[in-house]
């Protein structure tokens, strides 16, 4: 690998862009592939394999008639955006960190989003539309809303549905979810988009306490990331 290639990889990783480095195992020649951006002239077999490897977050070897290519995946870290600095968020945020993901809590209500309640957790005390535009939502983003206040939850969900976020969840009862669905439908989101919202959120493990509910959300999130084909892993 040349110094120039390494510099480009570091720059892409710093910009949080998913990246695959394809190395020809007979010649050692390496090149960058952006797995989710079409590139003219790129071998379709390589493009498809790079895309699949990035989606699975797993480096792999691609065998082609011309020889073998190693596909090394550089994915940006998973980031979990929690909208609502509520009691359950106080349990979920540290659990997300322990699971090895980045976490950020967004809540414009300064009385809730305090350092004392969220020690060591990045807090953004802004409205979701502003905060999320800056944070940036991508394929490696999970977002879950927790405020129960439509004026805060709805814009966050709308931003998530317009993004490629792999997990979108919303705390609230079945009745709340139905009302929310109607409001977002009125904003123009089709059923297929609304079906991405997991609500009631979390795996059905009988969770009651804030900590248990956080476990059910985190485990559902891991399932969406690591085992999206498993029974019960999809949102709808």
């Amino acid at each position: 690998m040349t110094k120039d290639l390494l510099a480009r990889i570091l720059a892409e990783v710093a910009a949080r862009k998913p990246l695959v480095v394809a190395t020809d195992l007979s010649t050692g020649a390496a090149r960058l592939v952006h797995p989710f951006e079409p590139e003219a002239g790129l071998d379709p077999a390589l493009a498809a394999a790079a895309r699949e490897a990035a989606a699975r977050d797993e480096s792999t070897k691609l065998e082609r008639p011309g020889g073998a290519t190693f596909l090394r995946v550089f994915n940006p870290p998973v980031q979990v955006v929690i909208v609502g600095a509520v009691h359950i968020a106080q349990s979920l945020a540290p659990m997300v960190k322990l699971a090895g993901y980045e976490v950020v809590v967004v809540d414009p209500r300064r009385a809730f989003a305090t350092e004392a309640r969220f020690e060591g957790v990045p807090l953004v005390r802004e409205w979701p539309d502003e905060a999320l535009a800056r944070i940036g939502l991508g394929r490696r983003t999970a977002l879950v809303t927790m405020t129960h206040d439509p004026k805060i939850d709805d814009p966050a969900l709308a931003a998530a549905l317009r993004s490629d976020a792999f997990y979108v969840g919303s705390l609230g009862s079945k009745k709340t979810q139905a009302a929310r669905r109607e409001r977002l439908r009125a904003q123009g989101f089709p059923d297929a988009a609304l079906d991405r919202i997991r609500g009631p959120v979390g795996l059905p493990i009988g969770a009651r306490s804030p900590g248990e509910i956080a476990v059910s959300i985190l485990s559902q999130l891991v399932m969406a990331l690591r085992a999206p084909a498993a029974p019960g892993a999809s949102a709808a």
Partner: protein
């Protein structure tokens, strides 16, 4: 108090009208107020002419109560003296908290907030734009 009674049609219409929403080209003063408990956030710009309000511009991130209140200010505040705003604010607070009378013309539209009397936790939502304008006017005098 059902939410339908609180958010009645006249109130929703006022909120949607967003009268006075936007930025002023050259405001004399700007003030921002937020409610740390519900997240409502109001930025209010004001320009003055001969000691009276020439124009207001507001940006509201908040509930419909807050939006409707800002709309009323957008419609009524231009042409008023700062003291009139302070009096309207005091009368509005009294209407909400002490079952006081609806402020007299040109503020009679504040009657849309009568159902909010029963919900003390939401009084701040209604008063927030008035407080932001009060701050902006105080700043403009400095």
């Amino acid at each position: 108090m059902t939410s339908d009674a609180l958010y009645h049609e006249a109130l929703l219409r006022l909120a949607r009208s967003a009268t006075g929403a936007g930025r002023l080209p050259a405001p004399h003063a700007t003030a921002e107020r937020d409610n740390p408990l519900c997240g409502d956030d109001v930025v209010l710009e004001v320009s003055l002419e001969d000691g009276r309000i020439a124009a207001v511009g507001h940006r509201v991130r908040g509930c419909v109560l807050c939006q409707a209140s800002a709309s009323i200010l957008g419609a009524v505040a231009p042409g008023r003296a700062p003291a009139e705003i302070a009096r309207a604010r005091a009368e509005l607070a009294a209407m909400l908290r002490e079952a006081g009378a609806v402020p007299a013309a040109p503020w009679e539209e504040l009657a849309v907030f009568l159902p909010v009397r029963a919900v003390p936790s939401r009084h701040t939502c209604v008063l927030l734009p008035f407080d932001a304008l009060g701050d902006a006017l105080a700043r403009a005098r400095e």
